[in-house]
């Protein structure tokens, strides 16, 4: 088991550096220079001043050297200084990352809390009108783009019937620890982000439960004379949850990347917003840091998923 984990971790290392190399190359070789953008329209700058700026940002070096410099600093735990925000990149990531994680976890929770019971109910009343209704909701949840749902949420539940705030994480002036206010702001974005998850989980649960139901131990449970309710909810459901838990890693990864769009609809101050502003100004220290953090999260969640699979199914370990 530990050999498997070690191997997966080792395999992740080249992937990780591959990601940073490609991002850096794409970003720095595409047209547009951070210093040109900075000084565009600033009158009476001398060529020497522009050159000095370029030197101050380390942009006077060839691109491969710039990458190596970045890599060297990164290996020393230094993400560098943001061109745009005039402060350490770590500070910017530090303020954005918890917000993105908070949103992703809330969405995951919603997906589980809503998706699983929906699937169980659908399985129990399979073939009924209720089952069909749930299927329609699930297909709809999959088909509806998150940004559209988010916009409709704002239009209907924030503007027309002002139940929820249009944007942000907290009411201005509210304390950092005002949990009810935070949750109230979280409803729209978390629901939007969890939409596909709810759909996924309800479909997955339904299939799994129907699979499990045909197995011997369920027949035994029924034969014992247990009520259908308890056969389903205790015996079948518990076993059907297994693939769901092993799949968590993948879902988390999906949520983190999906958060970028939801963040922009609900003005959520997370990683997506940060990366967007930085990319526009070619602030590569921030862009690289965002890529590194989110790809680390992705890789870790994939490794977790693989480990979970291997625990559930020993054949995977080889």
């Amino acid at each position: 088991m530990s050999r498997f984990v070690t191997r997966r971790l080792l395999q992740a290392i080249p992937t990780f550096f591959g990601i940073t190399l490609i991002t850096f190359a794409l970003f720095r070789l595409s047209p547009g220079d951070p210093v040109d953008l900075l000084v565009f329209g600033v009158p009476d700058m001398t060529a020497a001043q522009v050159a000095a700026l370029r030197h101050a940002y380390g942009l006077d070096q060839p691109v491969p050297i710039q990458y190596l410099n970045w890599l060297l600093r990164f290996l020393h735990g230094d993400f560098g200084q943001s061109f745009l925000y005039h402060r350490p990149v770590v500070e910017m990531i530090g303020s954005a990352l918890p917000n993105t994680i908070q949103l992703a976890l809330a969405a995951l929770l919603l997906a589980l809390v809503i998706g699983v019971p929906l699937g169980a109910v659908a399985a129990r009343s399979r073939g009924s009108r209720l089952d069909q209704a749930i299927r329609i909701v699930a297909v709809g949840g999959h088909a509806v783009p998150g940004f559209w749902f988010g916009l409709m949420f704002i239009l209907v539940l924030s503007v027309q019937v002002p139940l929820f705030p249009v944007s942000g994480m907290l009411t201005l002036g509210a304390s950092q620890w005002d949990i009810p206010d935070r949750l109230w702001h979280l409803v729209g974005p978390a629901l939007t982000l969890s939409l596909a998850g709810i759909a996924n989980y309800s479909r997955l649960m339904r299939t799994e439960i129907l699979d499990v139901i045909r197995q011997d131990f369920v027949r035994t449970a029924r034969a014992k004379g247990l009520r259908e309710q308890s056969v389903l909810m205790v015996h079948a459901l518990r076993n059907a949850l297994l693939p769901l838990i092993t799949g968590l890693g993948g879902v988390l990864a999906f949520l983190v990347s999906g958060a970028v769009i939801v963040e922009s609809v609900f003005s959520w101050p997370g990683m997506g917003r940060l990366a967007y502003e930085a990319a526009r100004s070619k602030d590569y220290p921030i862009v690289m840091a965002v890529v590194v953090t989110s790809s680390t999260m992705l890789l870790v969640s994939y490794i977790l998923r693989d480990i979970a699979y291997s625990v559930a199914d020993p054949r995977v370990r080889r």
Binding site: P31, V39, G41, A96, V159, G168, L170, V265
Partner: protein
């Protein structure tokens, strides 16, 4: 679509940053300008208290005028750091601020400012001329400031920057008097140097070491959490990409603001901004034209449409191999007559804009309409001009001369609705008069690259840039100086990327920089505008209005075209007088 729209609006913002950097700080005129409380007259007596929430679709980057370059940062800086001089919010003429008066020497090289008596910082410590001098020194020592252009011509400034001197000898402080000596006459300095937000030496002094030029304030933590200020408000907190909160400065020299708190709230796009204005989550914001009617109907908002200080134009590249017809004034004039700008303004801005026929904004003190050709839309005239110039229509309906077709590519940056539509209309209308235009778009970053680098093989060294024609925009500062855009020395390395070269314009621009009496400058810029109007090196396009909505509960609001930066900043010049009607 949502995400796309966000890109649209924000790119538009990026591209208007341009010249704003020269004119960031604009407090409010104490002696002149709009009468105080005029908008609140008859609305009861001012009561203190409450907060105003200003909306923006982009966060500030750094709260220090030495380093900031973007509009949102400047919006907040304007509330924190006061300059020596401000400008009249209506026409941009210099006006007193921390300095109650100023004089300019006959050779236009020496400026003398007299400070108001009894100025203090928000912590109660005295404000002195040394703070001003220190600000200039901090700029010159910074490695990443792009504001050196403002101070570099002061005697001794570059020597201080490089460490050859331990102070800027051209700035002398004696009691309430600050004397600034320049190496050459440079009139825009009055609003550039005078309008620069001054930072406290007591806070940042420790970062500058007179005999060590390697030390600077570039990474000072106080750049993001400024502890002391002298503007109407003081810093309280900043949650990146969410909000910045400022509170009233009891020591503000115009009196403590009536409002207790000033918030800068970030939302992701103009749709969210409009929705937040409607729900009252945001009190002040600028919106896109298509949101105007909906917000007007809401009934809770006052609407101000303020003429802008910039314009969206088509630049004709005169140094383009194979497209030498752009060097021909007649062709450029024909292209001015052949495009219905009024219709474009109607279509892309729902009428919220003004046709431009020369460079200076019509609201500027330096502008005069007299003697300018309005180039009213006249396709017949466009064609007759071309035909008089020897152009003949070919079988494909496109004009030709000496085997060359009147055909070119028109670039603009992608994701900007206004420019997209402008481009489409231009292609259609030019086709009708017999000019073949191909539309192309690319990212703003890529377009800047194209415009700033000389790559045309035929004219490369002279500043031949790699495009035929381009739609882009200028956002202008408060001073009418336009040297960096139009002087022929700016073809290489500057912003005259159309390659325009005219001795009358060059002379007028130099006069405007060296003969500093207001009426002398006025004459210079009118000569300059007249020549541009005649030559049409751009199709000057249009000047979009700023559409500012303010919650009705606020009294005393009076935005002006020079009241601050673009956007909500234009309303902020008299923020200390705003109050909330209960």
């Amino acid at each position: 679509m949502k995400v796309r729209e966000r890109v649209l609006r924000s790119l538009a913002m990026v591209s208007v940053l341009s010249l704003v950097a020269t004119a960031c700080s604009t407090g409010g005129p104490a002696a002149s300008g709009a009468p105080s409380g005029s908008a609140g007259a008859g609305a009861g007596s001012p009561t203190p208290g409450g907060r105003v929430v200003v909306g923006s679709i982009s966060d500030a980057k750094v709260l220090n005028p030495v380093l900031s370059t973007d509009v949102p940062s400047a919006d907040v800086d304007q509330m924190l750091y006061e300059p020596l001089l401000t400008v009249d919010p209506k026409n941009g003429q210099p006006a007193p601020d921390l300095a109650e008066k100023w004089t300019i020497s006959p050779d236009s090289k020496t400026y003398t400012f007299t400070l108001r008596p009894g100025l203090v910082w928000s912590d109660g410590s005295p404000f002195t001329g040394e703070d001003f001098k220190f600000t200039a020194e901090a700029v010159m020592r910074s490695k990443t400031s792009v504001r050196k252009n403002i101070f570099q011509d002061i005697v001794g400034a570059t020597d201080f920057g490089s460490g050859k001197a331990t102070d800027i000898s051209g700035i002398q402080v004696s009691g309430d008097t600050i004397t600034v000596q320049f190496t050459k006459a440079f009139c825009p300095a009055l609003t550039d140097v005078g309008g620069f937000g001054i930072i406290p030496k007591s806070v940042f002094g420790k970062y500058i070491v007179p005999d060590d030029p390697s030390k600077n304030l570039d990474n000072a933590p106080e750049n993001t959490k400024p502890p002391v200020s002298d503007g109407p408000f003081m810093f309280k907190e900043w949650v990146p990409n969410d909000h910045i909160t400022l509170v009233a400065n009891p020591h503000y020299f115009k009196g403590k603001p009536l409002l207790d708190e000033w918030d800068y709230k970030i939302v992701s796009d103009s749709t969210a901004l409009a929705a937040s204005l409607k729900t009252g989550e945001i009190d002040v914001g600028t919106v896109d034209p298509e949101q105007r009617d909906d917000l007007k109907k809401a009934g809770t908002l006052d609407f101000f449409d303020v003429p802008g200080r910039g314009y969206t134009y088509i630049g004709w590249n005169e140094l383009r191999g194979g497209k030498e017809f752009f060097q021909d004034k007649t062709v450029r004039q024909a292209l001015a007559y052949g495009l219905n700008i009024q219709e474009v303004v109607q279509k892309v801005l729902l009428g919220e804009g003004t046709k431009m026929i020369a460079h200076e904004p019509p609201v500027s003190w330096a502008y005069s309409e007299s003697g300018l050709n309005p180039y009213n839309y006249d396709p017949k005239k466009a064609q007759s001009l071309l035909e008089g110039d020897g152009w003949k229509k070919g079988s494909d309906g496109v004009y030709q001369k000496n085997g060359q077709k009147l055909a070119f590519t028109l670039y603009t940056n992608s994701g900007n609705k206004v420019r997209d539509t402008f481009q489409q209309v231009a292609v259609e209308q030019y086709k009708q008069i017999g000019v073949d235009v191909t539309a192309k778009t690319e990212s703003f970053e890529a377009l800047v690259d194209r415009l700033t680098k000389s790559k045309d093989p035929k004219y490369g060294a002279q500043g031949g840039h790699d495009y035929d024609a381009v739609i882009i925009g200028w956002s202008l500062g408060t001073d009418p100086d336009a040297y960096s855009i139009w002087d022929s020395t700016q073809i290489k390395g500057g912003f005259d990327f159309v390659g325009y070269n005219d001795p009358t314009v060059d002379k007028a621009l130099t006069d405007g920089r060296t003969m500093c009496q207001l009426d002398q400058r006025k004459t210079a810029y009118q000569t300059f505008d007249k020549q541009l109007n005649e030559d049409q090196p751009y199709n000057f396009g249009f000047d979009p209005n700023e559409l500012i909505f303010v919650n009705k509960k606020f009294q005393g609001v009076a935005p002006g075209p020079f009241g601050g930066n673009v956007g909500p900043g234009l309303a902020m010049w008299n923020i200390e007088k705003w109050w909330i009607k209960k």
